[in-house]
């Protein structure tokens, strides 16, 4: 794994032998190890159910691993105290496929909730946040182009607009690491291009490290430094994006199909190089 990819000194994220078995018995992650250096743009690919979302949720402690360790900013997330965990989460922005906005609240309130990690005590309503933060929230809404909608209820917006509000909420956190879990999967093609562009622009401007799961391989190849492919909870591809062609990446999806069709086949020879590289 110590390839060109991890150029920096201390990795921002390091996973060692992480496995996750859910109470219902599914093995969502199977002995995953990887490190992510600061400033990297990494794209996770794989079929639905391959463990991408589960992997992301381990990085901010929403899920705890069954085995192995997850270190983010040098903190061991799996065994962190709730205060440590809050500190980690404050520095990790998370953008969800379903946005995760409070529909009945205004856009401004939704953006402000991104500052909760910096504040003490519960807050309810715009007036309960300091004025400086309200000004800041307005700036962030402006940055995503939604300042005119500040006092509209979030559920009156279109899907693309909602995701932009969610991005503004994430900027409000001023995170070092941005996790985006299929951020454009529930949007139409046009707004998904816009939203993804916005997300990456903001992330690079603010020098965030980014992990994003995407279905659009072309998009992933276009901007990512590194591509990691997951299948059945295992890392089956981990490469510098520059050397990869689209057909290489599509293999991650295609081989799964062939394998599930021919259940009897053990491991196809073609899979070997990638698996070896991963273990090297």
């Amino acid at each position: 794994m110590t390839t060109v990819l991890s150029g920096g000194a201390d990795p921002l994220i390091s996973l060692t032998g992480v496995s996750k078995r859910f109470p219902n018995g599914t093995l969502a992650l199977d002995n995953v190890s990887m490190t992510v250096p600061k400033g990297q743009l990494l794209s996770l690919i794989g079929l639905s159910g391959s463990g991408k979302s589960t992997l992301m949720r381990h990085l901010n402690g929403l899920h705890k691993p069954t085995a192995g360790t997850v270190k983010v900013f040098g903190v061991e997330v799996s065994s962190a105290s709730s205060k440590q965990l809050r500190d980690v989460r404050r520095n990790v922005g998370f953008v969800f496929q379903q946005f995760g906005l409070v529909g009945r609240a205004t856009c401004l309130e939704n953006v402000l909730s991104g500052a909760l990690g910096r504040l003490r005590g519960p807050r309810y309503g715009v007036w309960s946040y300091p004025r400086t933060l309200r000004r800041e929230a307005f700036d962030h809404l402006e940055r995503v182009g939604l300042a005119p909608q500040a006092y509209q209820r979030a559920d009156t917006l279109s899907g693309g607009q909602m995701q932009r509000v969610a991005i503004a909420r994430t900027i409000m956190q001023q995170p070092q690491l941005l996790l985006a879990d299929e951020p454009v999967a529930s949007l139409d093609p046009e707004s998904s291009a816009q939203v993804l562009e916005l997300l990456l622009k903001v992330a690079t401007e603010d020098k965030m490290t980014v992990i994003v799961t995407l279905h659009q391989v072309e998009l992933a190849l276009g901007w990512a430094h590194r591509i990691v492919g997951l299948r059945d909870g295992r890392v089956v591809l981990d490469q510098d994006a520059r050397g990869l062609s689209q057909t290489d990446v599509m293999e991650v999806y295609r081989r799964v199909d062939r394998e599930s069709e021919l259940l009897a086949t053990p491991s196809t020879p073609a899979a070997a190089p990638i698996t070896e590289r991963q273990r090297a």
Binding site: N60, R86, F94, F96, G100, L116, R134, Q149, T170, Q173
Partner: protein, 565 residues
Amino acid sequence: MTAAHVEPLARAAGNKLPRAPRKWQSKALLAVFVAYVVGVVWSWMYIDMTLLTLFGGFTELWNLVVDMVPPNFDNMRVVLKATVETIWMALIGTTACVVLSIPLAFMAARNTTPNPVVFAVARAIITLTRALPTLVLAAVLTLPLGIGPLPGLLALAIHSIGMVGKLFTEAVENTEAMSREAVTSTGAGKWQTVLATLVPQVTPSFIGTALYRLDINLRESAVLGFVGAGGVGFVVQQHLRSLDYQRAIAAVGVIFVVITLIEVVSTRLRASIIGDHLSSPTKKTPRTMARERRDHRLLVDAVTTRRLTPPWTYERLVRASAGVIYLVLIVVAFATIDIPYLSALGLGDEVIDSFGRLFPPDFTTAGPELWQGIRETVAIGFIATTLGLVISVPLGILSARNIVVNRFVYGTTRLFMLALRGLPELIVAVLFVAAMGLGPVPGTLALTVGTATFMAKLIGDALEEVSPEPREAVFATGASRAQEFVTSVIPQALPNLVSQTLYMLDVNLRSSTVLGIIGGGGIGFLLLSALRVLQEPTVGAIVIVIFVIVYSIELIGTFVRWLVE
């Protein structure tokens, strides 16, 4: 189970017409139906209510009506004062109940409960508080707290937890989890997350529930005076006792007007709070359009000038003023209601003490009477439900506008029913008792009237919602109006009718446990006499019996509803 599945098929081979396979649920349902019929027949024989007594009752009622005209409004000052007290009791009682129910709901909701023990305890509290009728609770609380509004509003607060807590819990459980996960991910703490994501989602339904309960509590609080627990009921009872029917009917009239007015206001408020957008009515009048333009301008101004507080749109103004009005009312209520706050603080020990004296309960002193009271209570519930149902069917059909095409007929029927529903059942009952004397018959009749009007409204509404396509299809075959009604309307409305009948049986059995308190028959009478002579262990026994009756009804009701679904 397997036998039940196989058997009908086997039989089908022999018979010409194959039967639909019958599961054990439908057998159980049949058993419930048979039990219901047996219950009704037994009750009818037990109460010994012949059609003659019924018609005799009507002449007596007519005599009472004659005695009540013209109403005498001399005593208005006292009546109004007592009515205001009634409103304050309902307001404080509901507020207290909401304050207690909020933490309970978060503890009892699967998605927010801190641990299984807290969960179980909170659920138990919510279930148990429902099982003692307000009037019983109020009557028992007058023992340590004395006569006045305090026992009344405490009873309202405690009993309401059952319904309000349950609905609040459901509201919390119905919230979506995505925003919670998202805000947790920003590093927000547990309470910050709850306040930022859950509270905005549940607030509208909490307020809707609270307003709904306020309506119910107002009706209940109007009759609390019958046991000396404050409010206008006491005035009505006194006038009736001194046979001053003209003053009594004046007080009843005031109650009716107040209840109807508050119901109208709270229904509109509820609709506007639960309805997603207060400022987008279906009809666009010039006024609403001007309002929308103003709102739009405010919003644009707010974002261009970067106002750091939300602008005062119409919606926000309405909500804020409703909030302010409520706060003013509750402060006035606390300030003016006749409760000795300072000495009330010291009454805690006395309450515990006096509840202690209810134990061990004494089932023997009132033994035979207790048994008789239970049977009478059950009988009243069965008869009132069945009789009410029988009356409600023609009444309901008359009030459905898609079946009765004559506007005048359904209009007057609806109005008549609305007027009768405006009065709490126990007020109707106390008038019937005044006309016909003590005993189960006037009580049964009062509950019958309540059931009939309630069910008639449901039937009318259900019939209006019946989908028109099957009807047209049947008409198209050349069927007559009556044939069409039997073959297409009734089957569509039947399942709902069955479950509503069960619900009414539940409600009526609950009501009939307290009817006796005003002389309308059933176990309540026993409770009142035991309270009068301070036979506390007997009171304890009666309270336990009522609790068991109501709780078993609830369990049976839940089971049967499950069967029907």
